[in-house]
């Protein structure tokens, strides 16, 4: 399994993702924002951070980076793409994923451990439906889409994760940022482009006493086979 992790100017979780993927046993290399060559990778990862300083609007400038044209083409041919946090924001800005990420309901940046619960039946090798403890770190993670889009997402099993409590209950109290329907991650209609606000790569290391994120990355990688 070969992952390519894009470094945009201002990405700051790119090396964390490369490390986490390698630690799990995948091969991972860095891709450069100015180079449209995807180097034959099986999956392109758009990492977290503040691409282009999040100036104008999170992800709004990064979508115009030279590499993004190649990513769009790759995705249109069925190639797998994963966006984490700022990467998710870029994918919605690029129109590769539905919806948008608004300012957190609290209007403040939030960094903490939260629980997310996967929806059943989305991935080839399903993640057991339970609560996974994964950190969030964002100022604009409040997922929003219009009601028509939401209906399509529900009907077509495109909702990947919802924020839940430790027991897996999806409730308003477990929603950290005001996201519509507690949505923490979605995929496109073809189910080859995925995005999530929480950071699985920050929970993929036994040294940090949390490997729930490694389970998520493994299940995602299984889709690529």
């Amino acid at each position: 399994m070969n992952f390519g992790v894009i470094t945009f100017p201002g990405s700051n979780c790119d090396q964390d993702m490369v490390l986490a993927l390698r630690r799990i046993g995948f091969s991972a290399q860095s891709l450069w924002h100015q180079n449209p060559d995807l180097k034959g990778v099986d999956c392109v990862v758009l990492p977290g951070g503040f691409s282009y300083g999040d100036y104008l609007r999170s992800g709004a400038i990064a979508r115009f980076a030279p590499v993004m044209e190649a990513v769009s083409e790759f995705a249109s041919k069925g190639g797998y793409v994963l966006g984490i946090c700022n990467g998710f924001q870029i994918l919605t800005e690029a129109g590769l994923l539905p919806g948008a990420l608004l300012r957190n309901a609290s209007t403040r940046f939030i960094c903490k451990n939260v629980y997310i619960r996967p929806e059943a039946g989305l991935m080839k090798q399903d993640l057991p439906v339970k609560a996974y403890q994964i950190p969030i770190a964002h100022g604009e993670g409040n997922y929003f889409c219009d009601s028509e889009t939401l209906q399509k997402l529900e009907a077509n099993s495109q909702i990947w994760f919802r924020y839940s409590d430790e027991a897996g209950n999806v409730s308003p109290e477990a929603n950290p940022n005001g996201s519509l329907g507690n949505i923490a991650g979605v995929c496109n209609a073809n189910k080859n482009v995925f995005g999530m606000m929480p950071h699985p790569e920050r929970a993929a290391d036994a040294w940090l006493n949390n490997t729930d994120g490694a389970d998520i990355l493994r299940a995602f990688a299984a889709c690529l086979n």
Binding site: P9, D16, R108, C111, A137, W207, L208
Partner: protein
């Protein structure tokens, strides 16, 4: 220079306006053999300001121990301290203040404080892995405090999160003495491989000099001078002295700088903080006995028509002075271009020791580099001191006269809401504490932050500590206690203390009472650092934290780093692990209320002595604790500090929502037992079957140990009294700050 308005002729009046004393002007005239022009005078004014020259503090700072077997860059040698941690790695760390800018413009003041301290670390070739912030504000209920606090936290969050280095620890403390002068201190910790470090020396003649990073604007001109004055109503008018930060550029500058250093093409590099081009060109030259010829018209400027003195003094952020090896300058240009960072060649190193600055070929200033800098020609003063009269009141205090409250629960209900004791979650959740995937403390809370080093078994422990109330009561002992507390926090996390960086926040040094506090604190720090074998590798002095209401409490913040050799086996948490485990106090319980938050807030006795402290007890305690951790006898360790023993127990119980059943020692008044803050005490927990081994070791090490009780599944019982469930206390403690700030 015809395109510019005429600059004033230099005389004593002009010099005075720039903060240059008449005798200092005379000294400048002697150095130059002539009257300086306005540009030159401006350069001396900033370089000889307290902020850059340490002229009123250096004699005392020199008394601090700065050498040790691990020290690779000692205090004053480079931009930050550097210590060996084995396996070919070194830790690079420093703390710095941004108090004055934050008092006027909290968001940008704090943001640029974070940016500035990180540049000191990565200019050494080290990659920053953690930030800590030590923050002090006035009365939390006051609207101004809330505005400043929100602004400072938002500024740190804005800059640190985007820059991509986790904020992992620090302090947040409230006292009315900081009402006008908040203290905003930021510490950065980085890691570098031996042989990958860069130096801040200019190197050989002929080497090209580059300015890289942001364009130079008119912001921050005379910022260093501004930081060397008291804060008054007129200070608001100095808003232009505050710089504006851009974390995006800083992130690119970080990556480009580390890549450039790794390429081997860099001969020398220094960040531009206070006094901008003036400071970096003069300090780098003086370190090599060299000089430079600098063409200021080649400096990329943010606006047209900037004058020479403005270009020389600008404190625009995110800039570095890079000196390339003459034959490798294309390498530098290529790397900075790749990262989209401006890189302009502005001159060359010469071997004359003279700095010469030109505008469009015309010489605008000519100064011997050595004459500008600390350790060279900068003035050094010994100020007079006098013991402040408030100490009489401190000495007259009698604990017997403190009434004994009737009800422990009523006291705890009061204390659990005290701003200095409540959870700081509202603040810390606004900081990205996890980027870099090194922060072990997220899921393993510990007294000092623990940062695992990827690809190694090691972790760095880092903390900042300063109980300014204790230091005010007894600067010498109080400052020693701050160092001891920092070390205790490192030890409780399983680390060996390595070294200290300090941020010395004091009032106006020209006031003898303030200066007495300063020199006493330094002497206490010296003693402590010698006892603990933790050399001081650098830091920052911030005087003039003073308003018409008086000085802040003497607040020498201690930043300390430690090393955990095997983070898998030796890291220690502060959290109780399991119901049924035994809870012990190690160290001596004392009948001592002095200096406590309890006596200060509940009894409103604001001038009491510092709590009891004894070096032999402290050293034995730390040795015992490390032994217990490394022999896997204990499962948690937490230092007894603010709020006393009962707060230590609560803080150990909160993370896993456990409770405790404990009892009082009857020889000591119960309020002193539960809320006293005497030093050198640690609460540990351990499985019952380890108790025999534990007692034997404690006895052998000669440390008093007292069984307090056991960990419970959530219920709290103190001396038979039912205090309810841990979750009730936790929700008050955790939500209080948000209730106050969000209303």
């Amino acid at each position: 220079m015809s395109q510019f308005p005429t600059l004033p002729q230099v005389n004593e009046e002009v010099a005075g306006k720039l903060g240059v004393l008449p005798e200092e002007l005379t000294k400048i005239q002697e150095v130059l053999g002539r009257n300086p022009n306005f540009t030159e005078l401006s350069m001396y004014a900033v370089m000889w300001s307290e902020h850059c020259s340490y002229k009123n503090s250096i004699l005392w700072l020199k008394k601090l121990p700065k050498s040790g077997p691990r020290v690779m860059a000692a205090a004053g040698e480079e931009n930050a301290g550097l210590m060996d941690i084995g396996d070919g790695l070194a830790v690079c760390f420093k703390i710095e203040s941004h108090n004055h800018p934050s008092a006027i413009e909290p968001f940008q003041g704090a943001a640029t404080g974070v940016g500035g301290i990180h540049r000191d670390i990565f200019t050494m070739g080290a990659r920053p892995i953690a930030t800590l912030n030590s923050l002090r504000f006035g009365d939390l209920e006051h609207p101004k405090t809330q505005r400043l606090l929100k602004g400072v936290v938002a500024g740190i969050s804005h800059y640190g999160n985007a820059f991509g280095v986790p904020t992992v620890g620090g302090e947040l403390y409230f006292d009315p003495c900081y009402q006008t002068n908040p203290l905003v201190n930021a510490m950065s910790v980085g890691i570098v491989a031996h042989g990958q470090t860069a130096s801040a020396a200019a190197g050989g003649a002929g080497n090209p000099v580059f300015i890289v990073g942001s364009a130079t604007g008119k912001d921050g001109i005379h910022g260093a001078t501004f930081a060397s004055e008291d804060i008054t109503e007129a200070s608001e008018a100095k808003l232009p002295s505050v710089q504006v930060g851009d974390p995006f550029t800083e992130k690119l500058l970080l990556e480009a700088t580390l890549e450039a250093i790794a390429s081997g093409a860099v001969a020398g590099i220094q960040d531009m903080g206070a006094a901008g081009i003036t400071c970096s060109t003069s300090e780098m030259s003086a370190k090599s006995g060299a000089g430079m010829d600098i063409h200021l018209d080649k400096v990329p400027a943010r606006e047209e028509g900037m004058q020479a003195f403005e270009l020389l003094l600008s404190e625009s952020q995110e800039r570095m002075l890079v000196i390339a090896h003459a034959d490798q300058k294309e390498v530098i240009e290529r790397i900075f271009h790749k990262w989209g960072i401006s890189c302009a060649e502005i001159g060359a190193v010469n071997d004359t020791g003279i700095l010469r600055y030109f505008m469009h070929g015309e010489k605008v200033a000519e100064i011997p580099a050595e004459s500008l800098v600390l350790g060279g020609g900068a003035p050094v003063y010994e100020r007079t001191w006098e013991e402040p009269p408030y100490l009489n009141e401190v000495e007259a205090w009698k604990q017997e006269e403190v009434s004994l409250p009737e009800d422990l629960v009523e006291v705890l209900e009061f204390m659990i809401r005290r701003p200095n004791l409540i959870s700081k979650k509202w603040v810390t959740e606004q900081y990205d504490s996890m980027v870099g995937t090194a922060n072990m403390s997220t899921n393993f809370p510990s007294d000092a932050a623990l940062l695992h080093l990827h690809g190694s078994r090691k972790a760095i422990a880092a903390t900042t500590d300063c109980n300014a109330r204790h230091i005010r009561s007894n600067p010498r002992q109080g400052c020693a206690m701050a160092v001891a507390e920092a070390a205790r926090n490192i030890v409780c996390s399983g680390g060996t203390p390595l070294g200290v960086t300090n941020c010395l926040n004091f009032g106006n040094p020209y006031q003898p009472h303030v200066y007495w506090q300063f020199k006493e604190a330094i002497l206490g720090m010296k003693e402590a650092c010698e006892k603990l074998n933790t050399p001081v590798t650098g830091g920052n002095v911030s005087f003039y934290n003073q308003s018409p209401d008086g000085p802040v409490f003497p607040s020498p913040v201690i930043g300390m780093v430690g090393l955990v050799e095997d983070a898998d086996q030796q890291a220690m948490t502060l959290a109780f692990q399991e119901a049924g485990h035994s809870v012990w106090l190690i160290g001596t319980a004392k009948n001592d209320l002095a200096g406590s938050e309890y006596v200060y807030a509940y009894h409103k006795q604001t001038l009491t002595p510092a709590p009891a402290f004894d070096w032999s007890e402290e050293l034995k305690l730390q040795e015992l604790t490390l032994h217990l951790i490394r022999h896997k006898v204990i499962t948690s360790a937490h230092d007894v500090a603010d709020g006393g023993l009962l707060f230590t127990l609560l803080e150990s119980a909160f993370p896993k929502n456990l409770g405790f059943q404990v009892r009082t020692d009857s020889d000591i008044r119960w309020d002193a037992f539960w809320f006293g803050e005497s030093a050198s005490r640690i609460v540990v927990s351990l499985p019952e079957e380890k108790e025999v081994e534990f007692q034997k070791i404690a006895q052998e090490k000669g440390v008093n140990h007292l069984k307090l009780g056991t960990v419970s599944d959530g219920k709290i019982t103190v001396s038979g009294m039912d205090l309810g469930n841990i979750s009730d206390w936790k929700s008050i403690w955790e939500n209080r700050l948000s209730e106050i700030l969000e209303g």
